[in-house]
Structure formats: structure tokens, C-alpha cells
């Protein structure tokens, strides 16, 4: 059962990629991505069950596009991001990057693609090696891929530091000498070192103070414009995602619930799960009253997910038939897809 998001290739005006990827083509196509974590048990360590972290996820990303990936904890969004970069091995599915299925290439071939895809981590404290200088942290990928050496390497590191709002003198310092926001900038500089085409930003601002979040998001926004980056921006905060994303993918329990252009999703959510997520976003105006959709209970276990629609156990409009079929992703308006049989389909 595929839930392919068949986005009609729309021609983006002036979206010529710096590397000459034909415009309109997808930079990344993910098809039916699955990631199961086996649970071993018994005397012979047999697999007794699987944690189905990511189930049949398909999505396309065009060059220069920022796709937001949202969902609550345990929805599989981080696992999906890691699996796309093959930082964890996907159980099955295709990850077509620039026309090559990188899910199939060998580990040593994969190293070549690591120059093109990078990741920014959530925790700016855990993601920097405390025993390496900032210069070595940022320059490591340059060493690995032999991109620059000696003076050239130093220049590149300084350039990256300055581009991310730090300065050359920070190069010889250690991570603990920096604040959370500065560390996140170091993490971004590290990701940019190889001049990648695609970056997975895994909740890059969730661990930062609210006052710093905007700065880091703005930095990412600037970098994206300037370098023509393509981003998969993972977050649980819809507010941040709305600001930076062109399109938003909503995940729940390993599956995609809804995909839509960012504005459309916020103005006109179709899936009841998206509605619930949106109603949880605080509105900075105490006079505004709105009906809140409050979800009951917790996200079910991904070891034994509900049959049919995985959201039905917490869905306010669930019906009997929801237990029977896995709702396919259907297009409700151009570029807007939903996986819910209780909401009107394409008209």
C-alpha cells in the first residue's frame, strides 16, 4: 500500500539550482520508507516484535524548498530524518537523491553523498565533541573529504564562522565556552562546511531559549536564500514551521497524515490530527476565544499500532470503518493531501 505524494512538478520561476539540477525536478524523492526497530527476546535473541517507527512514508522535496515535518513525540519524524540520511539504515523503501537511490548504495559509496546531505541536531550541547576545538569541529568534514587543507581550511572555517554570526577568534575555543545559541550556530557551520545541497534540521531550535530561537531560524532562512539550500525542517512546534516552510508534512505514529503548502495547512487543515495540533498553538491575544480540540490519551504503542487509521483511537470523528482501511493520501486541492476517510475527498 503506497501513499505516494504525487506532487505535480511545478516549475519554480528562477529556481535554478547552483549545481545545475534541472529546475522543477525533485532533489529528493522518498518512497515507502519504513524503519522497524526489532525487539529481541528469548534465549536465541529472536525478533519477537518490531517497533514500527516509520511506516510507508513518501515525500518529495524540490530544490530550494523547505519542507516542515511535524508531529508529536514518538511520531517518527526524527527517525524518518535520520533514515533519509542513512544515519540509521532504513528497513525498506527508496530514497532517491539527485536521481540515485541512496538506500541501495554501499556504505563506502554513501560517503560521497555525505558531502551533499548534512544534518543539524536538536541538542547543541550533545552535538559538539567537548574535546575538540570549534575549528576542528567545523573543519572535520573538510579533512574527511580532503576538501581543504592548511591555510585554505582555516580560511574556510573562518568564513563559515563569520557566515553563521560567530567570529574568527572563536576557532581555537572549546564548545563549553559558548552559549546554547552560539553552539547551535557552530552546529550549523559544521553542516555547511561541505557545501551540501540538502540539510535535515532536526528540531534545531527546540532546545534553545525562545529569545534565541528566532535568531537561529532567521539565520537558517538567510542561509537557505543565499546558498540555495533545500531543507527538511523537523519540529514539533507548528509556529516555527509555519514561518520557515514552503510545505508542511504532518506525521503521526510513523505515518503521514496530511501534506500541504504551509499557508494552506494553517488556513485550511483537513485532517482532524492537524486540527488538534493547530489548536494547541498558543495565540498571543487573550481576547481571542476558540474551540480547542484536545486529544485524549497518549500516542499508542508503535509496536502494535491500531488497525486501519492509526489515529482513530484518539480521533474525535472516528467511525467504525476507520478500523478497517488504512486511509490513502488523497489530494483535496492542488498540493494538499490528507489521509482521512471521514473528511470529504477531492472534489
Amino acid at each position: 500500500m503506497t501513499q505516494a505524494v504525487t506532487v505535480t512538478p511545478e516549475v519554480r520561476s528562477g529556481g535554478a539550482d547552483k549545481r545545475g539540477v534541472t529546475k522543477g525536478e525533485h532533489l529528493l524523492e522518498v518512497r515507502d520508507l519504513k524503519k522497524y526497530f526489532p525487539i529481541k527476546g528469548g534465549v536465541f535473541s529472536r525478533t519477537v516484535a518490531n517497533v514500527k517507527a516509520v511506516e510507508d512514508v513518501s515525500l518529495n522535496i524540490k530544490p530550494g524548498e523547505v519542507v516542515g515535518l511535524v508531529g508529536e513525540s514518538g511520531s517518527g519524524k526524527t527517525t524518518a530524518g535520520r533514515a533519509i540520511l542513512r544515519l540509521i539504515e532504513p528497513t525498506s523503501g527508496e530514497i532517491i537523491f539527485n536521481g540515485v537511490d541512496i538506500a541501495k548504495v554501499s556504505k563506502s559509496q554513501m560517503r560521497e553523498y555525505r558531502k551533499e546531505m548534512q544534518i543539524i541536531f536538536q541538542d547543541p550541547f550533545a552535538s559538539l565533541n567537548p574535546r575538540m576545538t570549534v575549528g576542528d569541529i567545523i573543519g572535520e568534514a573538510l579533512d574527511i573529504h580532503r576538501l581543504a587543507r592548511g591555510k585554505a581550511r582555516e580560511e574556510r572555517v573562518v568564513q563559515l564562522l563569520e557566515r553563521t554570526g560567530l567570529s574568527a577568534q572563536h576557532m581555537r575555543r572549546y564548545p563549553h565556552e559558548f552559549s546554547g545559541g552560539q553552539r547551535q550556530r557552530i552546529g550549523i557551520a559544521r553542516a555547511l562546511a561541505v557545501d551540501p545541497q540538502f540539510i535535515v534540521a532536526d528540531e534545531p531550535v527546540s532546545a534553545l531559549d525562545v529569545s534565541i530561537q528566532a535568531q537561529v531560524v532567521n539565520l537558517l532562512q538567510d542561509l537557505k536564500e543565499e546558498l540555495g539550500l533545500t531543507l527538511l525542517f523537523i519540529a514539533h512546534d507548528l509556529g516555527v514551521v509555519e514561518y520557515i516552510s514552503d510545505r508542511v508534512v504532518v506525521m503521526y505514529l510513523g505515518r503521514i497524515m496530511e501534506v500541504a503548502p504551509a499557508r494552506e495547512l494553517y488556513r485550511n487543515p483537513v485532517h482532524p490530527y492537524t486540527e488538534a495540533l493547530l489548536s494547541a498553538v498558543p495565540i498571543p491575544d487573550p481576547t481571542v476565544r476558540r474551540e480547542r480540540v484536545i486529544l485524549q490519551g497518549d500516542i499508542p504503542s508503535p509496536i502494535n499500532p491500531p488497525s486501519g487509521c492509526v489515529f482513530r483511537t484518539r480521533c474525535p470523528i472516528a467511525a467504525k470503518e476507520c478500523a478497517e482501511v488504512v486511509p490513502p493520501l488523497e489530494e483535496v486541492s492542488p498540493g494538499h493531501f490528507k489521509a482521512c476517510i471521514r473528511r470529504p475527498g477531492p472534489n
Binding site: R114, D123, A126, N129, Y174
Partner: protein
Amino acid sequence: MASEAVRSPSRFRPENRVLRAFFQNPLALLGALLIVALVVVAVTAPWVAPHDPLELDLLAPYLPPGSEGHLLGTDNFGRDILSRLIYGSRISLFIGVIVVGIASVVGALLGLVAGYLGGWVDTLIMRAVEIFYAFPFLILVIAVIALFGPSIFNVMWVLGVVSWPVYARLVRAQVLTLRETEYVEAARASGGGAGRIMLRHILPNALTPLLVTATFGIPEAILASAALGFLGLGVQPPTPEWGVMVSEGKDFIRIAPTLIMWPGLAIMLVVVSFNFVGDGLRDALDPRQVER
């Protein structure tokens, strides 16, 4: 652009905080001073020792402590005990450092590989560790020494080889947590191979507990070599090794009990000093330690 204040550059790496905590511990400080003194004595032995440690004076055996020219007296052959102790410190320290050096390097590398690669490599290495643990340590050493013959060189490598499992286990446990860190993942995302990740990202961060264990390992090695010396399986007489000195002195315990007292005291002091330092290091490196 960066409106968040650039923090005032702190000149202190975490190590400095650790050092301060360490030197605020009086026992650790005492231990460190004793060890420094011992190292100085060992290095300068030919100049500080009043006599040649092997020089016999058969006319003046069993001199009591405080005799003229022999501060700690003489042994059954009239050799100066102080000089023998001073030269003995060289051997004991040397053995301690070399044994721990061999054991920690071998153990750390095997633990690193086992923990990072996992799978059958891990199984193989860790089963070997368990086998080594299951053997009574001294029996194994005695068996090997009996096979290869007693010599200071054999003592060192045998003790080194039998004590690596402690370090392997320790490092492996560290690696298991460190390999899941985001900075290791970042290195993999940048295309870093297993070797680079193990040596540049994991090992440097696993070294602190290793340092503590190594500090406790040195006195253990010194004790073990003294025990072997006492049993006649280690360093051979007339080399002035502390264990050998106790062994030789035991035959004269009735006429001159000080013959075994002095080397015994020396062994005790060294062992206690290293243990104080080890305890101090462990406490100072404990992240839960609150700075006063």
C-alpha cells in the same frame, strides 16, 4: 547579527576546575606530594643514595637504624638499606608504570573496538575478558613465569597482559554510551570512518575514568611485583627490589626485624599514596561534585 552576547572568554577548560577540586583534597595532595618525592628520588638515585646498593660490608651486618653512615642500618650482608630502598623505588615505579601502560593501552584499544563495532567482535573480546577474570590472577602469573623464567622483563609483560581486562571493560562501557552521542552521529553524517570516530571522538572522551583506574592500577602492579619478588618469581636478588628485600629479610626477622620493616613500609607508603591520588581524582572528576 549575533546580538546574543558573546560570553566573556573563560580561560578555564574543565580540567582546571578538576585540578582545583583535586588540590583542595588534603589526602590527594599528600599522596601527590609523596609520589612526586618518590619520583624525584628514583630519578636522582645515584646522587641521593649514600652507598652503592650492592656494596657488601661483611664486617658490619645488621647495623641498627641510626648507625653512622647507615641511616636505616644494614642488612645481613652489610648493604646499606636506605640505598637499597632508593634504588628499589626505581624498579617499583618502573614496573608499575610499564605494567599499567601495557594493560591500559591494550585494554583501551580492545574495549574501544568491542564497544564500537559490537557483534561478534564484541562477543569474542568480552568472552576473553571473562576468561581472564575467571582465572586466579596470581596463579596465572606464576604459571607463566615458571614457563618463561623469572626476570623483571617477564614480570612486566605478564602483569600487563593479565590486567588488561579491567581496562577493556571500563572503556567498552564508556564507548557504549559515547557512540550514541550526537557528535558521533555528526561525524558519521560527515562521512567519518570507524577509525576516526573511535580515535578522535570516542577515545578522548572515555579517558577520564581510565585515568582513575590506571592510578589504582599502579599500586596494584607494584604490590603484585613485590609479591612475586617475595616468592622468588619476580626480580632476582641481589637486585634491590622491595619484595625481594622483604623476602631476604624474613629469614632474619628475629635478629633484625627492621630488615623487613623498611621495605614493607616503603611498599605501604607508595600504595597508599597512589590510592589517595586515585580517590582524589575520582572525586574531582565526578560531575556531581559541587564547587564550593
